[in-house]
Symmetry: C2
Subunit: 430 residues, 2 copies
């Protein structure tokens, strides 16, 4: 079979784990370097930020804050066509994330004992948006929109400046469109440090969101250990496609390439119950790859990737649940039925017209998703990520009379007499 993907035929279940193994990410080797930068920022604030910005971004900035003139310029420079596209995406993302608001319901668990929970916005959040060759303004939509819906009071955005001290126009346009007013030209580890510890210019935040390279990922891990929350652990982007003869081979190939172009470490996996389908997709892959500007990156990513031939779609879905892909496309017969068998995935794309790039930009779902198998235990970013759910309880006299005895007995059995006494005193006085 002439395929660019390594093809594995009918693997035994016992082999799945080995086949699905991801490349191991070595985070420890960077830790010392990154920790050194963080300590410097914690101690020296803006002065340290300036030093590292000069060193890593090649520009000496005395002021990191993006000014209103820069915003105005950006608004002028972005084409009307792109503005309309961003607004369409914004509208869909808003609709879907608005639907994630939780209603507050009081539950009377026992007569006189009322319990409820309230979603309260995290007051201060920080968003990191990488710059460089691919200015990910779409990620601003994915983070800033739910932050605004949640009601976060301070939203700080950091993004690296280019060598001339400028920030990409689409990034600035999107940031202002979603109502962000605190934008700083700070990149990499410096940005994470500035938001985690606060500096003269940058507000200290309670939670940091956003993608980044291995240095940024390492910095997020380190500040997480010191008590600042982060969106989720990071890893290279991934896509799995479950396809049968109902798929369109050229679509599947295009979807696999859209993932492969992200980076040389991206992983794509094609699972099918039909050998001919795999062959057709492989043929299309080869054809489309030739026309791709980022074909060098995509070729490297495809080298890490696999096509797996299985006996049935159900078996394929079982294998994919073991893999827990970040993105999962179901390009097969009765995709909704298969979708009900999904256990571990970040986001699922159902049917031939649901390409992964729809979710990356404009369908309305969030594109900040768990990679590296984390979909087994982590959710993608949603409105939930920007709130804390605080519980409340109110006991009346009747309430404490109804459950007081139970509390006393349990506290006593745990050897916690003061816990018991807090109830005993109240019961006695009634």
């Amino acid at each position: 079979m002439n395929t660019m993907l390594q093809t594995i035929k009918y693997p035994e279940k016992s082999e799945w784990q080995k086949i699905l193994q991801r490349p191991v990410i070595d985070s420890v080797s960077l830790e010392e370097t990154v920790d050194g930068v963080l300590i410097d920022i914690r101690k020296n604030g803006d002065e340290a930020i300036r030093k590292y910005t000069k060193k890593f971004d090649g520009i000496d900035l005395s002021n990191f804050s993006v000014g209103s003139d820069e915003i105005s310029n950006a608004i002028n420079n972005v084409t009307e066509e792109l503005k309309a596209a961003i607004q369409t995406a914004k509208s869909n993302i808003e609709k879907f994330h608005n639907s994630q608001r939780e209603k507050e319901t009081i539950i009377e668990t026992t007569n006189g004992v009322e319990c409820w929970r309230r979603s309260i916005a995290i007051e201060k959040v920080g968003l990191y948006i990488p710059g460089g060759s691919a200015p990910l303004f779409s990620t601003i939509l994915m983070l800033s929109i739910p932050a605004k819906i949640a009601g976060c009071k301070e939203i700080v955005l950091c993004t690296p400046p280019d060598k001339n001290g400028k920030v990409n126009d689409a990034i600035l346009y999107t940031a202002q469109l979603t109502g962000i007013t605190k934008i700083f030209k700070i990149g990499g580890v410096q940005a994470i440090g500035a938001m985690a510890f606060g500096t003269e210019s940058v507000t200290k935040v309670y939670k940091i969101f956003g993608p980044g390279n291995q240095y940024v990922t390492c910095a997020k891990q380190l500040i997480n250990k010191s008590g600042i929350a982060i969106d989720m652990p990071a890893g290279p982007s991934e896509l799995a496609v479950l396809a049968d003869t109902n798929c369109v081979a050229s679509y599947v190939a295009a979807d696999l390439l859209s993932q492969a172009e992200h980076g040389a470490d991206s992983q794509v996996i094609l699972v099918s119950d039909n050998e001919q389908t795999i062959a057709e997709v492989a043929k299309e892959l080869k054809k489309q790859l030739e026309q791709l500007p980022r074909r060098d990156i995509a070729t490297k990513a495809l080298a890490n990737s696999k096509a797996i031939l299985v006996n049935t779609l159900a078996e394929g879905m079982e294998l994919l649940n073991e893999y827990a892909p970040e993105h999962l496309i179901l390009a097969c017969n009765e995709p909704e039925k298969i979708a009900n068998q999904v256990v571990n995935a970040g986001s699922v794309f159902i049917g031939n017209y649901s390409c992964e790039s729809a979710g990356d930009y404009a369908s309305g779902t969030n594109h900040t998703l768990p990679t590296n198998g984390y979909a087994k235990s982590y959710s993608g970013v949603s409105l939930d990520s920007f709130v804390k759910k605080v519980t409340f309880q109110k006991l009346s006299k009747e309430g404490i009379q109804n459950i007081g005895k139970s509390i006393e007995l349990m506290a006593e059995a745990e050897g916690l007499d003061a816990h018991k006494n807090a109830v005993t005193l109240r019961l006695k006085s009634l």
Copy 2:
């Protein structure tokens, strides 16, 4: 003023941060030791578990699994009175956590573009329950009940054996009552390692929950870095009370002591707008402390604790939002009104009859809550903690026609041509 609590009168807002500072927890110094044990467990499985159980728990066990005879004995040994108390608590916790189920709603963000999310149980979870002087069987209720409601398929429970190789009866009774069948006599770092990596006896899980000492906390942090999710970062338990002349001083004192008895590192904070209230609570504290079995622990905890006199309840609540207490009791006039001003807290107890121990055991709310100021960004354990929320999207032909152009423009502006091409191919074929 004769008070056991250090009293601070009318502090300036600029002083709040300093006053509210918590003792710094040094986790780094343990890391090497704990990491050594984890590496050994990863490599040598049950053999290593056996070695450390002998070393740390003083018992040589060849089989860590709790047998059905031990469960039967435990059921016989727990008094009917305590069984009924545990069942009352279970019923309330079930009612409240059942109410946290999320309804699946399909949102059509654009004609032909349907998005929804589904809560899917984390398949394998591990619960750690400390043993020792205070056998925390109540924590089993708090973790196992939402795990069962979520539908987790494998729930593993580890708890340390005593010197005779036994586990506390109430722990075994509660575990079987909530339907846990895999119970292991493994404690401390060994338990965290066994559940994180899996051994011959213990299933590898995807997320680990539960309290523990500084070694357990450190082990959870380390395995979290390697990709296993954990419930939340840990710290010493805390209680803050906002009280005015409407409080009952003896209740407030009892509540403060119920927190102080947890450990010498526990923190309690009393905030009031009335000097006489603080004096009365202090008097009661002294009186009640004398009769407390765990008074040595409580006295030490009170030494770290503070009473703060403020000008108004609103100012007091602002100060408490800055502190972000794990538990917050509102023993004051119109406590519901003040409750609406809560931004940062784990769980809130409203009015004179809502003692903290009610939430610890039986009101229905969860007692696994964010300490150490983490309430600024983390929620307590809830049904959410046991599920992943997976997003789904389904685009029809009309759907991709409606948003296709926007995706193409955004992908192009981000320099991701393969992303664009996945849409272009589809649009062309329609």
